[in-house]
């Protein structure tokens, strides 16, 4: 159980990677942008991959009537997400310490993982809602209005995950280093659960 607790400790600490690295990365390449424009989505706000990428993306998006990319203080998520992550790290560390001294058993580790998974899914759901709004809530006076074959106006929602062609842009959306830290950390808590479970069984 001591070993499991240490793994649990490391796993929850891994979430702190989200404060150092972006959670998600969206790149927009086009023939006239051989060096793609890109945005890194951190849990604390959105940043351009290069210095002026956000300004240039906004500049291009105004033709199709998209809103400008929100600043950190324009979205409640960027206030709440860091608190949630800090909360989960503290909770995970607490559980691991209690586990280390035998105060709680390994099932708490799984409990943490389930809670984190629910929060994660909710986060992704929220992120997707934002992408949908960003890509489809367009200015009715937009300069360029493209109509789909079925007569509906084209939307410019970037993919949640993977690749999509949006007009002349090749858009790819992928988890970034912060997400991998989170993923590895969460997997470690599952490992901690199994290790704890095994040590219990072997007793």
């Amino acid at each position: 159980m001591k070993k499991a607790s240490i793994i649990m400790f490391v796993g929850s600490i891994c979430l702190l990677g989200l404060f150092a690295f972006p959670l998600w990365n969206i790149m927009l390449g086009a023939p006239q942008y051989p060096d793609p424009l890109g945005m890194n989505i951190h849990i604390t706000g959105i940043q351009g991959v290069s210095e002026f990428d956000l300004q240039n993306i906004d500049g291009l998006n105004h033709y199709i009537g998209m809103k400008t990319i929100p600043k950190a203080d324009e979205m409640w998520e960027f206030n709440v997400f860091p608190s949630v992550i800090i909360g989960m790290v503290i909770l995970g560390v607490l559980i691991s310490i209690l586990g280390f001294f035998g105060k709680v058993d390994y099932r708490y580790f799984l409990g943490w993982f389930v809670l984190m998974s629910i929060l994660g899914v909710m986060g992704m759901y929220d992120f997707n809602l934002w992408l949908t709004d960003y890509g489809s809530n367009l200015d009715p006076h937009a300069i360029i209005r493209v109509i789909n074959d079925d007569g509906t106006p084209m939307t410019y929602k970037p993919p949640l995950l993977g690749y999509k062609k949006l007009l002349n842009f090749d858009v790819s959306s992928m988890p970034s280093a912060g997400a991998w830290f989170m993923f590895v950390g969460m997997m470690l808590t599952v490992v901690a659960f199994f290790v704890g479970w095994k040590s219990k069984k072997s007793l």
Binding site: D35, E51, F52, Q55, N56, G59, Y63, I143, I144
Partner: protein
């Protein structure tokens, strides 16, 4: 000659082609017309980049053009001593001061010899220097922005030809006078030239961090013509060598009268010694009148300052600093081998090259083996300093470059050829014709301690029959030789703009990564910049109207302006708000009597418009910027001079 070659090639072509089929491993024919691999050597596929940047001087066009090697594609024209309507250089209020001189605004010159800054004798790619020959000036081009950053005028000088070569740590850029003149200038009979006219060799210091230039001292030399120059390097670092002609000091019909002496001189100048003399308070400060024009990347503006004095040095006051080496037949080019061992003097009326040995020169100086003096300056004995003679078999040698592999390449103007010869043994290894009448040749880094000896470019003076005729006026022709093998191979020719005299080239890998892509708007300190769109406005000051305008894809702010009157002087101060590489915007206003503007991202430029007629007049963006480029436009309403209409401006109302 050309025709015979063609017939021969036509006759032999099929035979060579047939024999070529059976010999897949055989080396490609050296016959230019048939060597298909030559096309591959110069072919840079779409999307691929050239290996070298080449900077060609424009000669009478006063500019510098940038080419890629080996493709021969032209990338850019850099206006230097020239106006350039494309981007408003020399027309916009911010750049007009760059072309100020003590003679007033001079938007033309004759730009000759570009040289890239060096550190330890190797190209460092920070700056490119070039001389204005006619109204003596030296310009510094910033190789981050590829724009002219500074121009300094050279007083007491005329025909700034033995210029603008730089020492191996870019300590000095030199500006030697071709024409000797009265110093100071005065009204005197021309026939009294001899003994009264003087030649100024100016040493311009280069500030190591900023590149900022300043005339440190001028050597006031005897009244010869100082034709070309080169700094020593390696062991001869600290010396500068100048060729002279007209040591006869003739003042009329020089083609005869300045060709009487069998030998003119190469002046060897120990500039370190003179620097020391000057640093210890030597020299005489004399009144002078010359401009120093500096462009700032922060304010996007130039300032012109008039300087009032210059430090002159009488060379006879610094014993042991200057020596004359007799050189046969009116030498033109003087070139120093990469190691600094040899100084090659090319007598333009000679068939042979004269190579001086630096070691022998020092030994002769130490042994005081002089052969008389000229105006108090010692002349060394020819035989004592001669390192070797290249029996070339050509006619009219002009300039020599080096490949860094122990070989030298000399151009021959009269016999139209490039001759490759070996340093130390002086034997001719190879020779190839040029088409036609070659002036300078250039190997990337070929005048530094570390040449990149893969290509040689010959800069030819006569072009006829190389390209489709374009009326009486033709662009000049450059020819590209592959010099990577034992034998030179002519692999390409391409037209160049103006009359390129010298050129300088540098590996793209040194320059491309440092190339600036935009100007940061946040760092724009132009006093007329409109950094926030909300600050866009129109201000009247008497009959001057200042329009503070911002531009971004695809509109101007403001785009409607009213309250302008006939007789006003309207200054458009326009700031480009883009921060994206390669998205400039242009500005032209109907009836604008100077040029338009082309404004780079983050930059502010100013143009003046003086409305002559009432009406509503449009302006528009001239650089295709987006799908809605055509919509990027606006109007100015011009009312009668007596109108009381207040100024107003708007966007989207």
């Amino acid at each position: 000659m050309k025709k015979y070659f063609f017939y021969l090639a036509a006759a032999l072509g099929p035979i060579l082609l047939l024999s070529g089929c059976g010999d897949q491993n055989g080396k490609a024919s050296s016959n230019g017309a048939l060597a298909s691999n030559n096309a591959e050597k110069v072919y840079v596929a779409p999307g691929e980049h050239d290996e070298f940047y080449a900077f060609m001087s424009g000669g009478y066009s006063g500019n510098v053009t940038v080419y890629g090697l080996p493709s021969g594609r032209m990338f850019k024209e850099i206006p230097v001593f020239s106006q350039f309507p494309t981007n408003g250089y020399g027309y916009s209020e911010e750049t007009k001061p760059m072309l100020e001189t003590s003679f007033g605004f001079i938007p033309a010159d004759d730009s000759h010899h570009p040289d890239i800054s060096q550190t330890n004798g190797e190209l460092d790619g920070r700056w490119l220097f070039i001389n204005g020959n006619n109204t003596p000036r030296i310009a510094r081009i910033d190789l981050k922005t590829f724009e002219t950053a500074e121009i300094i005028e050279v007083p007491n000088s005329a025909g700034n030809h033995s210029s603008s070569y730089i020492t191996e740590n870019s300590e000095y850029v030199v500006a030697g006078t071709r024409f000797s003149v009265p110093i100071p200038q005065r009204d005197m009979p021309i026939k009294d030239y001899k003994g009264n006219f003087k030649g100024a060799l100016s040493f311009i210091s280069v500030e190591p961090e900023t590149g900022r230039m300043d005339i440190k001292f001028q050597l006031i030399m005897p009244g010869f013509n100082y034709d070309l120059s080169h700094p020593g390097r390696g062991k001869s670092h600290g010396w500068f060598f100048f060729t002279t002609y007209n040591t006869e000091e003739a003042n009329s019909l020089l083609e005869v009268n300045a060709s009487q002496n069998d030998k003119d001189f190469i002046a060897a100048v120990n500039w370190k010694k003179i620097e020391e003399y000057v640093n210890n308070g030597g020299g005489t400060m004399v009144p002078a009148n010359y401009t120093h024009n500096v462009y700032s990347d922060e304010t996007h503006s130039a300032t012109s300052t008039m300087k009032k004095e210059v430090l002159t040095v009488d060379p006879t006051k610094v014993p042991g600093a200057i020596f004359f080496m007799p050189t046969p037949k009116s030498p033109h080019g003087v070139d120093v081998s990469p190691s600094g061992d040899y100084i090659i003097g090319n007598g333009k009326l000679s068939a042979d090259l004269t190579v001086f040995s630096f070691d022998k020169m020092i030994a002769a100086i130490e042994g005081k083996k002089f052969d008389g003096e000229a105006y108090g300056l010692p002349i060394l004995k020819f035989e004592d300093v001669l390192g070797g003679t290249v029996k070339s078999g050509g006619l009219g040698p002009l300039h020599t470059e080096f490949d860094g592999k122990g070989n030298a390449y000399t151009t021959f103007f009269i016999s139209s050829e490039v001759v490759k010869w070996k340093l130390d043994t002086w034997e001719v290894i190879d020779r190839k014709p040029t088409f036609y009448s070659v002036g300078h040749c250039m190997i990337p880094g070929g005048n530094s301690r570390k040449p990149f000896g893969k290509y040689l470019v010959s800069l030819n003076k006569i072009t006829k029959d190389r390209y489709l005729p374009t009326g009486p006026e033709l662009e000049h022709s450059a020819q590209l030789y592959d010099i990577s093998g034992d034998k030179m191979e002519l692999i390409y020719d391409f037209p160049t703009h103006g009359e390129p005299h010298y050129a300088a080239a540098i590996p793209a890998s040194i320059l491309a990564p440092k190339s600036q892509k935009i100007y940061k708007l946040a760092e724009n300190e132009n006093p007329y910049a409109t950094k926030n769109v909300a600050d866009a406005r129109v201000v009247r000051n008497g009959n001057e109207v200042h329009v503070y305008m911002a531009m971004i894809r695809s509109h101007f702010t403001p785009d409607n302006i009213e309250g302008i009157k006939v007789g006003d002087k309207v200054y458009f101060h326009i700031t480009n708000h883009e921060q994206d590489f390669d998205v400039p915007h242009g500005f032209m206003m109907i009836g604008q009597q100077n040029s338009g503007l082309l404004i780079m991202p983050g930059q502010t430029k100013t143009s003046v418009w003086e409305p002559k007629q009432e009406g509503v007049w449009p302006f528009y963006c001239t650089d295709f910027c987006s799908a809605l480029h055509q919509e990027m436009q606006g109007y100015v309403r011009v009312s009668p001079a007596s109108s009381n209409l207040d100024l107003s401006w708007s966007l989207g109302e």
